[in-house]
């Protein structure tokens, strides 16, 4: 059986191998991707972005619980930066999601940026397709911890969640022109760690950024470590999924 057939039957190893091939030998993987693309229907892709350490991975671990309760298979691509000097990377997002590793219905893949700017790696959009082929009902993409103008995630995600934390109140002003513009949903996580009023007021000033009709970006407060606010977040994500309609093809990000 060929690699693609195996992937389509839900073989994790085959899917993992194809993702590596896309990362290591992008040109020779094109043919397989073409075959794969003809066999899949795009699924809802959720982008989780925000500054370093705000709790993106912890939130994803919680969202996985919600999806699994509904028996949805979840693919996760977690991006961390490569060192510009050595090319090495310490991929640590997965630590927060390890409770899901024994679950056959969850596929988590850590990816290093390998010199790509913008918050994702070059292979991310294509890896979304691989996880779709594997059977994911939803694919979650965690960007590297971003500053402000790393907005590549908007090219792969249908729904973008921008995660912030209470301490960022003043920094928000400076982020105006960046990731704040791409948020469909804003999460203020770690509300156990400080007053959120300042951040909320600043956030109100900058939203809504992205031009859209009939959708007002929501602000949701969470404590990811305790699991509070997650139901509300999950609900809002589902609302946005329905608002989006058909998941997009992610063609644009595919062109390179």
């Amino acid at each position: 059986m060929g690699l693609i057939e195996k992937i389509l039957q839900g073989d994790q190893k085959a899917a993992a191998k194809l993702i590596s091939k896309i990362e290591d030998e992008p040109t020779s993987a094109l043919e397989e991707l073409k075959v794969l693309k003809e066999r899949i229907v795009p699924v809802h892709t959720l982008g989780i972005t925000g500054p370093p350490g705000v709790g993106k991975s912890t939130l994803i671990a919680r969202l996985i619980e919600r999806y699994r309760e509904k028996n949805k298979k979840v693919g996760v691509l977690a991006i961390d930066p490569s060192s510009p000097f050595t090319g090495g990377a310490l991929l640590g997002d997965r630590i927060r999601m390890q409770m899901h590793s024994p679950d056959e219905g969850v596929f988590i893949r850590s990816m290093a940026t390998r010199g790509q700017l913008g918050g994702l790696s070059r292979a991310t959009a294509k890896a979304v397709k691989v996880l779709t082929g594997w059977g994911a009902d939803v694919v979650v993409v965690e960007t590297v911890g971003v500053g402000q103008d790393e907005v590549e995630v908007m090219r792969v995600a249908d729904t973008i969640v921008v995660v912030l934390s209470p301490g960022l109140g003043d920094d928000i002003q400076m982020m105006k022109a960046g990731i704040l513009e791409i948020g469909d949903i804003f999460v203020i996580n770690k509300i156990d760690q400080g007053e959120t009023g300042h951040l909320e007021r600043n956030l109100e000033l900058v939203r809504p950024g992205r031009e859209r009709e009939g959708w007002v970006p929501a602000i949701i407060k969470t404590i990811a470590v305790k699991g509070s606010g997650i139901d509300e977040l999950h609900q809002k994500i589902e609302e946005h999924r329905k608002y989006c309609g058909k998941p997009r093809e992610v063609e644009r990000a595919d062109e390179d």
Binding site: K13, E23, D24, G88, L90, L91, Q98, P102, I108, A112
Partner: protein, 136 residues
């Protein structure tokens, strides 16, 4: 382009000391590898599923709890079952030298004792992976 070496550093067993594992993870990163670190108290299932999904070339297990003769075989067996038999496995931690032959016979390529220089681990991985191109 040279393929990236991907390594999973895992800490099975019940003890909670991962200083050594973290030092190794950082050293391998600084040597240009992509290192997945998954934290302490990992079960065999968690480690093996992670190794498969992350398509690692190499799995480093750190064990201080003395449960190596129980944990290593479990992980090696499960890994083979899941199709990961080409993954290079090494171990580190406190492992009595009389146990090493048994571990090697079950498929652990090398055991690094306490006080091992990280450069030794880097050299070992690079040499093994260069020597065995078909691992990829």
């Amino acid at each position: 382009m040279r393929k990236k070496i991907r390594v999973l550093i895992a800490k099975p067993g019940l003890d909670g000391h991962d200083r050594g594992a973290k030092v190794v993870a950082r050293a391998l990163r600084d040597a240009g590898m992509e290192v997945i670190y998954t934290g302490i108290r990992q079960t065999a299932e968690q480690i093996v599923n992670t190794a498969i999904q992350e398509d690692v070339d190499c799995l480093g297990l750190s064990i201080l709890s003395g449960a190596h003769l129980k944990l290593f075989p479990k992980i090696v067996k499960l890994l083979k079952k899941r199709g990961g038999k080409n993954i290079l496995i090494f171990g580190g931690g406190i492992i009595p030298s009389e146990d090493i032959p048994e571990l090697k016979s079950m498929g652990v390529s090398k055991i690094f004792g306490p006080g091992t220089k990280t450069q030794g681990i880097i050299d070992f991985i690079k040499t093994q992976i260069d020597a065995d191109g078909k691992r990829r």
